[in-house]
Amino acid sequence: MLKKLTAIVMMAVLAVVIMFLPSPAAAAEVTVAVNWRPLSLSGPQPYVAGGIVMLPLRAASEALGAHVSWDGANNNATLLRGNNVAIIKKGGSRVYVNGTPYPLSTASTLSYGTIYVPQDFIAAVFGFPTYYNGSVLNLQMDELPVYYTKGFRVKYLDGGSKLVTDGENSRLLLFPRSGAAPVGVVADKTIPIPLRNVMTSSAGFVGVMAQLGVLDSLSAVTISEPYWYVPGVRQAMQQGAVKYVGGDNMEAPDYELVKAISPELAFVYTDNYAHVMQKFDEMGIRYAVNNENAEADFLARMEWIKFVGAFYNKELQAEKIFNDALYNINRTTAKVQGLNKPKVAWGLSWYGKVYVADVNSYVGKWISMCQGNYVFQNIKAGQDTQVSMEDFYAMAKDADILIYSSTTNYMNDASIQGIIKENPLFADIKAVQNGQVWAYAPDWWQTLHETDVFVEDIAAVFHPEAFGGHQYRKLVKLP
């Protein structure tokens, strides 16, 4: 009897072991690479079936920067990449990309709780040709995908090098620090990556660097310690790891200090920095021009986070941050579409002059996407436009909402009485009388990667009825 039972136990144990063992196909190790650089996939790993590499849908798509959402009721996975949407059904043998069906070499399958797709899914959805050599599945990415900006480009070269075109059309040849720059490539500057010693005049880039986990490469900034809200920056400045080199009042940096720090790259803007760039040229300090502030679309502006990522080989992580934010933005703007549009004024008074945002700027896009009716639609002179107080009053007097375009920590008195003190004509504006005056939170300029939070706050200010219990993070209602 005991022998018989022992045999049954042995068989049961064997059955359980077989159940948990990966299939023979799954046991074959496959490395996924982008341009022959390994791509780390979390969780379930790829396997080979019939000579085709099967990839875990979520892990592979997210590693390539897509936002993935799962509709369990209908068994559909949806991928968002910029303005592209791809949808596939569990078990489906075709993927719809922007509505067009692409047949796959084999149907998607469910294995150990994960949906797997064949390697040609990557070509259909991401546009990267694939090549499997028996151990490595290489995804060929010739150029970093960008969807909204025309301000920069990243092209990939052999051996981990890349050619970046910056905001001033300068060609920056980035090459792996461990190797040598490729010869025969026409470039204006040659820069080893990942960066280790960086100066930036872009506060927004510092927030992105923190998000990408590369803040330790930051050496110099043009904003002094009290004004920083990116976690870790103040502490790094107190410890001396990050130096303030001047610039709080838009003045040129202390060149001697910059020379002492000797950054291997400085991120600068064209605005107010033409003379600085000239001086940097003389000093032999390399710089890359970031003109995200000149973008006419807030999505194009946010896309510059991928420009930063390229200097750290983290552009696909930046792509993921971008697409995740885009997903949230799409949800927010869909939520308010079709609602009544409040009249919105957006500007500030500074030493007796009033400045408003151009309707064609990214601020204008924010207002229209969040279903606001901008009162300064006919003012299109430039990025930020100075108007007379009389014109401002004539157009803004009936505004339901006033967004005062200053961070609260730069205001002399961050209150409604404070802005009336700055300019008494504000007192007669409907939004001021009704207490609907908002200003920027102190971290406004330092969190470019949180554009989705900006959009949600703006939409919630315009349409509070659709955002019950909303916690504002980027806009502050003035008391």
Binding site: V16, N74, Y112, G338
Partner: protein
């Protein structure tokens, strides 16, 4: 006694192992990746604009006569129909009822429990599931010339369908004024006047 005890131990071991294995396979197979149910999960009321008269579009929905026809719908989208749509997919229960009341015919239906009464041809129509969370692939496979969706609760779905290059007109079924406007738009679009 010892043999009896051993037998019981062995039997319990078998049962525990088999139960564990079944549980692992069964549960895991039901959870693809890390499931993220979208906001329009039918179990959760979707975040949406309030469905009231007050939430009516700020700009009047408009329509031009004849084809090509330009419509500003109730999401304030402007849609141009080059020709009269032959295959119209109505993806909301109340809008389906309104459309059929006018004599229109959809190429799909929704879950029967979302309709007050079965549609005349409901038996032959493919279902796109729950209106709050329709099967987007089922809609795409029908290759409609036009989708009629419910503004508000289906705004996110409209966005996805638009990205998938489908023409969508968003209408409203709640509130007398909205219903009247929607009926007029349906009549003009489908040539039911």
């Amino acid at each position: 006694m010892k043999r009896h005890f051993m037998s019981i131990v062995v039997l319990i071991t078998i049962l525990v192992l088999l139960a564990g294995a079944w549980f692992y396979r069964h549960i895991h197979d039901r959870i693809p990746d890390t499931p993220v149910v979208t906001a329009s999960n039918p179990e959760t009321p979707p975040d949406s604009a309030p469905e009231t008269e007050a939430a009516a579009p700020s700009e009047e929905s408009t329509i031009s006569k004849g084809f090509p026809m330009t419509i500003r719908d109730m999401m304030n989208n402007t849609v141009t129909l080059k020709q009269k749509p032959e295959k119209i997919a109505v993806i909301s229960g109340p809008l389906l009822e309104m459309f059929y009341g006018l004599g229109g015919q959809s190429i799909c239906t929704v879950n029967p429990e979302e309709l007050k009464a079965p549609l005349a041809d409901a038996g032959q129509l493919p279902s796109i599931g729950k209106a709050a969370n329709p099967d987007i692939i089922a809609i795409l496979e029908l290759e409609p010339d036009l989708v009629i969706a419910e503004a508000g609760v289906q705004n996110e779905i409209v966005t996805t369908l638009q990205k998938s290059k489908l023409q969508v007109v968003a209408l409203k079924s709640k509130g007398d004024a909205n219903r009247e406007k929607s009926l007029n738009l349906m009549k003009a679009i489908a040539g039911l006047e």
